[in-house]
Amino acid sequence: MEKLFKTHPIEAWLLIIIVATSAVLSVASTQYLTLVNAFDLLNSISINVIFAVGLLVVLISGGIDISFAVAASVVQYVAFYVLSYLGGGNWFIGFIVAGGLGIVLGAINAGLIHYFRIISIVVTIATFNIFFGLLMFLTRGVYLYDLPDWWTNRIIVFEHEMANGTWAELTLPAVVMFGAILATWLLITYSSIGRQIYAFGDNPEGARRIGINIVAVQFIAYGWMGMMAGIAGLMQAHFVQEIVPNALIGRELDVLAAVVLGGATLGGGRGTVLGCVLGVLLMAIIQNGLNLLGVTPFAFKAIVGVIILLAITLSNVSFVELRAHLRMQKGQ
């Protein structure tokens, strides 16, 4: 733990806060610390985590993406029609189609950013509007309910009957989430291009001088984000068993907040998969806890806002320095 504190202070703090919050909640609500609730939590955070690990890669590369949530909605619609064209499809084809469409949308962002030298926030705000506008225009906002059975049938990967007769169930999105976490971790830790994404986000001019392939960095970062968005879209449609054009809009800011809470910065070069997952988890635990405590959902957003401000402020202050400073003032 001490070592984690030294090398990854943000992750260590998040862990402590998660444990502390959980301890408080388990005292306040007997339902909190149960396997049923734990699995529910994992199932419910899975889509946000899949988005988050994608966004993490973009943030590490020094960029930002606002468009991924609506991109996921676009993927849902297009995938629906492509899959019906292909005769219904199955999970395997579903992943390929959703991931592939996501990559295409991510590549559009990367292309605009790289070839037209527009900064990423401007590009993705524009594509956010284009994606969403076209989606609403072309679909006229219709909901899709007649999804293929394979897409909507609940898949329980692991289940366990509790003493009181309830079932603790781990479902497909949670498993896909673990896959996304693992893949992203491998990408940014063990692949050459992943380390180059870090390097480029950290010092773009330095990266250029040592000959890092900047086109590849941009396309992989935004393509990865797009792929994760496509998969998250597939999972979200699976989860709610319908496709709604504005179902995901607004999600981008929740996810961005969670990833930044997890230690990634908008400046690039920083961020870990662990921190990113813990960031999403902490947000979910707080929401979960507030629900269990019967706090009105309207308070949730405000509380999340305060937490983010606190976390970012504290991560900018070194605790050692803070302590030394306080001590000195006392001494005077």
């Binding site: 692949s191 380390r195 180059q196 950290d202 010092n203 040592i210 000959g211 070069g269 030394a324």
Partner: protein
């Protein structure tokens, strides 16, 4: 013996500005070659062409190890054995030491995966070869600047290099560190690796180099054997001027004291600083990079607050809550980073100059009078001899020297009692520098007190009444140029290395 590098007819144009004009450049294996020239003469551009970062204008021939190229990519340059240690180190502060050292290897490798253990081995091996040691897992951002320099050197030597470029490698090093670096250079030449030193520290250049190529204003002045060169000759070649500088010999200590600083400290920045500046006096502060000079200036300008000690202006103790307080008390600060902090590049000359004195150009209550503003601007443009076409042009259209004059004018317009000039000649052409110092002397003559901060020892030596040598946040000693030789000051700062 074939040359490692033989370039001919290399030119480079940036949007109409010719940074390099028909340069021929040649380096032999195992030689220490020095590329000398003042700031802005084209040294860095030439290195960027050699390392593949820039493409030269058409018509150039680049011959590396006997092989001809029209253009080079960074990866190609590295493959033929060109290693570069950039002045700003081009390191990745959020990444580990080991990765920073080994990164070029895995960027150019065909393998899609990185093995962190191998990265550490590679880093360890090159550290051993150079006789340095690091905590390989530490993040580079946590290390001091001298260590980063060594990391940059290690990085350049990981691959099988035939020629290493070192861009101002000793700028931030102390005596023992410089010594160590020069040992490394000798190790390399013994292995028949060519080393190209880019430096404007001339004594060092002449000690270590076999040959010197001098550039001036983008053109090659010539190639000389280092043994035939003297300091004076080399200076003359570099600047194109026969400078016969005279020191300021005037004791102003009887004048009224304008600024007095008593034992101010700020943890991690500067410690126990005491000095004073009399009216009309120029006091220079010099020392290595990271000596705490700029940090001290920022406190005098109210941007940060000293944790201990007192600052007096005209005998009255002042405590600046922000730089607004400092400005209204008559302190002006021309920042060291003119491009990003001192001037708003896209704005007009007029707007830049009038920015500090908008309250003097008001009419009808609080509305801005363009006429009054124009009067103020025209006055200062003429006063400082800024060469500009139209004051409504963007400031980025001016040369470095004229931009600096506008930056100074902007602050003079506030009618300060104390002017702090931080690195006023960075990015300013040689010819224009003298113009800036003429202004400095002129202003001092009119009774303005000036604190002149620079890491160019000669600048402070020849333009100050007194010089303070700062290192590790403390003032080490005071020198009076009229009563000591410049070498005494240089030795104190760089040590009697080499």
């Amino acid at each position: 013996m074939i040359p490692v590098i033989q370039f001919s007819n290399v030119s480079k144009t940036f949007g109409g500005v010719r940074a390099l004009i028909n340069i021929d450049f040649e380096v032999m294996p195992g030689e220490v070659h020095c590329l000398a020239g003042e700031n802005g003469c084209g040294k860095s551009t030439l290195i960027k062409i050699i390392s593949g970062v820039y493409d030269p204008d058409p018509g150039a021939t680049l011959t590396l190890m006997g092989q001809e190229y029209e253009t080079l990519s960074p990866a190609q340059a590295r493959r033929v054995g060109v290693g570069v240690i950039w002045q700003d180190h081009a390191l990745f502060p959020e990444m580990s030491v080991a990765e920073n050292i080994a990164i070029e290897g895995f960027v150019s490798s065909k393998s899609k995966l990185v093995r962190h253990k191998k990265i550490k081995d590679v880093a360890q091996k090159v550290c051993e070869r150079l006789g340095v040691s690091f905590e390989l897992d530490a993040l580079v951002k946590t290390l001091p600047i001298a260590q980063r320099q060594l990391i940059a050197i290690c990085r350049a030597l990981v691959s099988d290099v035939r020629i290493v470029f070192m861009d101002e490698p000793t700028a931030s090093l102390t005596q023992s560190e410089t010594k160590h670096l020069l040992d490394v250079v000798r190790t390399l030449t013994a292995e028949n690796v060519a080393v190209v030193f880019v430096s404007h520290r001339l004594t060092e250049v002449l000690e270590i180099a076999n040959r010197v190529t001098v550039l001036r204003d983008g053109q090659k002045v010539g190639v000389y054997d280092a043994s035939e060169m003297t300091l004076a000759k080399l200076t003359e070649k570099m600047t194109g001027l026969t400078i016969n500088p005279a020191v300021v010999d005037q004791d102003l200590s009887k004048n009224e004291t304008v600024l007095e600083v008593k034992q101010i400290s700020r943890a991690g920045e500067y410690e126990d600083i005491s000095f004073s500046i009399a009216q009309g006096e120029v006091v220079g502060i010099t020392g290595l990079l990271g000596a705490g000079r700029t940090e001290l200036a920022l406190s005098l300008f109210g941007m940060t607050r000293p944790e201990q000690g007192q600052i007096y202006l005209h005998g009255k103790e002042v405590e600046f809550k922000s730089n607004l307080d400092a400005i209204s008390s008559g302190v002006a600060y021309v920042s060291e980073d003119r491009l990003s902090l001192g001037l708003i590049q896209d704005q007009s000359i007029e707007n830049n100059l009038a920015l500090t004195v908008l309250d003097k150009a008001l009419a009808f209550g609080s509305l801005l009078s363009f006429k009054k503003k124009r009067t103020i601007v025209d006055h200062w443009i003429e006063e400082l001899g800024v060469k500009s076409g139209n004051t409504s042009d963007a400031i980025s259209t001016l040369s470095g020297g004229n931009q600096q004059k506008v930056a100074i004018a902007k602050w003079l317009a506030t009618n300060p009692k104390l002017l702090i000039l931080d690195a006023p000649t960075v990015g300013v052409d040689v010819g224009a520098r003298e113009g800036i110092f003429e202004i400095v002397r002129d202003l001092a003559g009119k009774g303005l007190s000036i604190l002149l901060i620079s890491d160019e020892v000669s600048e402070v030596y020849f333009n100050s009444n007194r010089v303070l040598h700062m290192s590790s946040g403390c003032i080490q000693k005071e020198y009076v140029p009229a009563r000591c030789d410049i070498s005494e000051l240089e030795d104190a700062i760089y040590g009697k290395a080499i």
